[in-house]
Symmetry: C2
Subunit: 246 residues, 2 copies
């Protein structure tokens, strides 16, 4: 028999690491290439954990509106796909998500994530009202899954500059996935949107350092060797939860 | 705006459906072809839910052995891959899984799931001791992820007939994934292995009807239309749990 005793992971004594955009990209590349995780698998894990985080930050019982409506705004890349998976699991958790997904791509995997939502009867908006009051009235919260670590602050293009302008005026709470859209992963944007909740994937990014809202770390699957190699010093996750509040 | 109010799912009043092998196959095909779920995504969802079930049935605090060792036996097909994912998440939940995976395939996705475990430092056994006492002494429980709905009772071939012979003599508790190996999905095998725990995926199979052990339903993601179409009458899942005890 070839049984070796697995090492217990010691509680981190060093402070939690905040990743630069570059470090986040290196870790993701390593997960895909060395550890052989699949994109589909990672997006499913992250999206599920995001939905879980939303249930913690905004439990159904806390909504003032009659219907537990949630607006999920999805960008064209990976961050948007995490939003699609999040919306699907929120539906399973008995929320009523509506998706706005203005710029779709030819990526088959992203198209499949879209179909999964459509076949779950999750409505898709054909446009985002510019009259902000309509959004405030129709939804309890907005989930911002527009742009993640891949975006450089300032390079946003239409329709996303208009969407961000709208979101800056919205009065209902907002939760951002990984990086608040319009921020740079390396630095907060004081003139940008101000989410109440931030859900960091894998590890927080540098821009989250001074974040004063509710901050969750989501996605409990990182191999211990990756955690060690990049000195992530992740906190302990409670029970079998896929997320932890920082 | 195109927002429609999503229907709330009523509590089932009809009894839970037990699927025939054929029905289980039809549902899986529909999930893949119509709903555009991916194999990788489904196996990740199921494996994670199985690990979650193991933490409920066998909490770390309940183990009598000093190390929280778990032996996961994986078959060559999908059931075995669910076992690999389960082992990986058990490691994240601070169990100490060891995998026995005697018959690997050329399937790239299954190979990737294997690499993910290897890179998590989960040990793989090169053979299963025929001396049953060695298994009883080394592990707290055995997880049987050998054969699922795809297998016909009686068609098992080596090395699986020998493994099942060994497992029948094992004294530590056993948990089976979806269908206890050596059983037919449509009918329990009185002469087969007798797991203490059964983790049904999507919906229970006919063979589980008289099951007297702890029975979990794992994988909380089935679209409501599939649940309705096949009259599954699934019970309510507690909170955000990905499983429910039946």
């Amino acid at each position: 028999m070839n049984h070796t005793t697995a090492e217990q992971v010691p509680e981190p004594t060093e402070p939690l690491k905040y990743l630069s955009k570059k470090e986040a990209a290196v870790i993701e590349k390593e997960l895909l290439n060395e550890y052989r995780f699949g994109h589909q698998q990672l997006i499913e894990i992250w999206g599920h954990a995001c939905a879980h985080a939303i249930t913690k930050a905004f439990p159904l019982s806390a909504f003032s509106k009659k219907q537990p409506t949630v607006l999920v705004i999805c960008g064209p890349e990976q961050n948007g796909s995490v939003g699609l998976v999040c919306a699907r699991h929120l539906r399973i958790f008995e929320y009523e998500p509506t998706i706005f997904y203005p710029k779709r791509t030819q990526n088959t995997m992203y198209q499949d994530f879209t179909t999964q939502c459509e076949k779950m009867d999750i409505p898709f908006l054909s446009y985002l009202p510019t009259e902000v009051q309509l959004i405030n009235d129709a939804y309890n919260i907005v989930i911002d899954a527009i742009l993640g670590t891949e975006s450089d602050h300032g390079e946003e293009q239409e329709p996303f500059t208009s969407i961000l302008t709208t979101l800056k005026q919205v009065k209902i709470p907002m939760a951002s996935v990984d990086v608040p859209s319009g921020w740079d992963a390396d630095k907060a944007n004081a003139d940008g949107i101000t989410p109440e909740v931030l859900i960091s994937l894998n590890a927080p990014k540098k821009c989250a350092k001074g974040f004063s809202g509710k901050h969750f770390l989501a996605g409990r699957f990182l191999p211990y060797d990756i955690q060690k190699k990049f000195d992530l010093n992740l906190p302990e996750f409670p029970g079998t939860d896929s997320l932890v509040e920082l």
